[in-house]
Structure formats: C-alpha cells, structure tokens
Symmetry: C2
Subunit: 210 residues, 2 copies
DNA sequence: AATAATTTGTTGCTTTTGCAACAGAAAAAA
DNA sequence: TTTTTTCTGTTGCAAAAGCAACAAATTATT
C-alpha cells in the first residue's frame, strides 16, 4: 500500500518519543500479544507477518485478520468481549513495536514532535484499517465458497497487478480466513480448475477469466 | 454509544466551518448517496436510520452496514471497487450532513476552531467505526446460521443490557445483514424456539439461556 | 540424512443451507 | 376503510457445505 512511507515517519516519531515504547522480536508460532480488556495497546509490525486468531467454543479456528509489514493491531482496534480468546501469532520471525494508546491523548508537557506526527498520521492509519475490514466483510458476505475464493483472488490480483500470484496464506489458513471448511474449499478449488476458471500448482494461482 | 456527545461537538464544528457542508433531508426508501470512486465523501446521519446496501451479480442483496443516529459513512470508509454498486438507503425520514473529506487535510488559512475539533475527534470517530466492523466480522465468521443468530442476539442483549428486546431490523433485513437465506433463517429461529433457547413473538426476542 | 510434523489433495456420507413457492398477517397507501 | 404492498412463517426438494478419515507430498526438526 502507498501508506508505507507515512508509517515509517510514524514509527520513527514513536521510537523517539517521550513515551515508553517497547520493541521485541518473535519467532515462528510465538504469541505476540493477546487481547486484554481495557488495556488499549497499539502494536506495529515492523517486520514479518502474523495472524489475529480466535478459537470459538467448538474449537473452530478463525483467522480474523492477517498482518504484514507496517500493519497496526492491538485492542485499540477491537473491543474485547470476554467470551473470545483473541491473540496474534507470528507466522515467522517478527519485529513488533508496542505502545499504550491512551497516552496519545494525554499531551506531554514538552509538546514534542511525536504528538504532532501522531495526531497527523493516526486518522490515516486507522482509515487504512477500515478499508481492510470492509474488504474482509465484502468477502465474508459472499454466499458460496466459490464466490469467496473468486472474490479473494480478485483482491490479490488487483493488489499485485497480475493474474498470476502465490497465495500469501497456506491453503489451510486461507480456509480459516474465508471461514469455510478446508476440504470443502479444496473441492471447490478443484471445480474452479476443472471449469477452466483458474490454473493452480501448489499455492500458485493463475486467473484465466476476464 | 458514549460518543454521542463528542459527535455533537463535531457536527457543530462542521456546520460552522469555513468549508462547504450540505445538509439534506430524505424520506423512506430514498437513496441518500451512492459510493463513487475517489470522491471521498464523509456523511453524518443526524437523524433516522439507513442501510449501506450492495446487490451482487446474482441479485443477492446484502446489507453491508446499518446506520443509526450519529453514525458516519461515505467513501472515506470504503474503497470502491467497480464491480459493486454500493448505496445508502433511508429506512425512514433521515437528516444527513455531507462533507468532502479531502478538505479536512488542507488547513484553512484562518486556522478555525473547526480544524481543531476535527483533528481531535476524527480518530475516535473512526475507531468507533472499526469496532463496529470488527463485531460484524465476528458475526460473519460464525459457521452456522444458528451461531450467527445467537451471536447477534448476544450483541443486542449486551448493548441494551436486557435479555428481552425488539430487533432493530425486520427479519428480512436481518437475513440480509447476516448474509443468509431468509427462509433458512426462519427455520433456524423456529428450531431455537423449539429447543427452548429463545422466546419469539413477531420480532421481539427473549433469551432464555445463561 | 532420517524422522517427525504439517499441509495438501481426495472422497463417501451426513447435515445444513438455499431455492421456490405459497398462504396468512401486518403495514402502508389510496 | 379498502386495497395494495411488504413481511412473516412454512414446507419439500435440490444443492452446497461440513465432517471424518486417510494417503501422498511437502516442510521442519533432530
């Protein structure tokens, strides 16, 4: 996305701020943070990729959100309801910046550059988030697995500006992201292939339509 | 929600701003606005209720979002992709404020009170939006109609702080909101009733569990 | 390099959901 | 008030999705 430059500014300002910011490194499958009521943490993924995951009472795993470089997450962006364990897990080596959001409102006495950058960039940062959430909702409201898959492929395709791409997810994770049964999704992928809509080798997809 | 006071401030500042703000009234079923690429309009619903609606290629109607007093909407919160007609329709008499977002960034020369209030309140406004979107996603990721219904009821119940409430939707609209077939939803509602989980008279629901 | 763990691909069977159609109730319009 | 329109409630049947189980392939770990 074209906000990466702004984010760099933001991160720099945050790191040089008068407030306490923690930076930490994680390796694959480690839990980066879990969402706790009222804490209002704001995290920035400086490097790597991670998933926001929930397990429901039936043991179904859902990938609520997928984060890559410079994405933001934390309770700031999510009201935590007690009956859902939410946590962010690293998909590989990750570098993460932690910050408590509430401090942003309390103006520091020295009126540092940090607050200036923050108030300027935060809305844009969050709007970017909103856009992602809306795209997600658009996918989830599709009525069939096929429509979800095609919708997702179109999204990736228009993001990378190519009809041929590797999925940023494993197929198992993609099913959890689209909130469908994995084997049913595999079946549908095969049908899409048989019907000549896509080509598929491993998790490399080529769109043949339009 | 507890942001209504802040929104009032916001609206006041907006109306007295140095920029062009349009206010307009709509009656039931009128189209308040449709989402147009790159316009970046920001709207505030001053009174009434309205739905953000999409019709897909198969003619399925989906209620993407439901707005009530002081909710914000517009392209600012949505990247418009060409293959989806998105519009907001009034569910009854509505009063709406229109504003073009891009003007917010361009600081006016006179450094008016408006910009101050705006930069202060906007992040909070949008965060509120994010929270709603996340709740929506949580509902949509539920794997069955029953889970979606129960999830939705729990939400309403905890919002109104009562186990007995009238649905803010017609049942037809609720199905579109949960993105499921209406008759299948009706069937599931009946099963929930038969299983003793809920009581239902018209669109008044009472939760019997917990 | 060998072993263990995870992911992919497939399938038969069951359950859930969607579709279509219709009658009655309720709400809106004339 | 009467008529028209929309919404609710129901059902049989068809289609889609979920579940479970397993082998093959791929990827990590030792």
């Amino acid at each position: 996305m074209n906000i990466s430059f702004d984010i760099k500014q933001f991160v720099e300002a945050l790191e040089n701020s008068c407030h306490k910011v923690r930076k930490k490194t994680f390796s694959k499958n480690e839990v980066i943070t879990n969402y706790i009521e009222k804490r209002n943490q704001l995290c920035i993924l400086l490097d790597g990729s991670a998933d926001l995951v929930r397990y429901d009472l039936n043991g179904n795993r859902t990938i609520i959100d997928h984060f890559s470089k410079y994405d933001v997450f934390g309770e700031v962006f999510y009201i935590v309801s007690t009956n859902n364990e939410l946590f962010v897990e690293a998909k590989g080596k990750c570098e993460v910046l932690f910050y408590i959001y509430d401090d942003i409102k309390k103006k520091c006495k020295t009126n540092c550059k940090f607050h200036e950058t923050l108030t300027e960039l935060l809305p844009e940062l969050i709007l970017n988030k909103v856009t992602n959430l809306n795209m997600r909702i658009e996918l989830l409201t599709k009525r069939s697995i096929r429509d979800k898959l095609v919708g997702y492929f179109n999204l990736i395709s228009s993001m990378y500006l190519t009809k041929s791409f590797s999925l940023p997810f494993s197929l198992t994770d993609l099913a959890d992201y689209l909130s469908v049964d994995r084997s049913a999704m595999m079946r549908e992928l095969k049908l899409l292939k048989d019907d000549g809509f896509i080509e598929k080798t491993g998790n490399k997809i080529t769109l043949l339509y339009k």
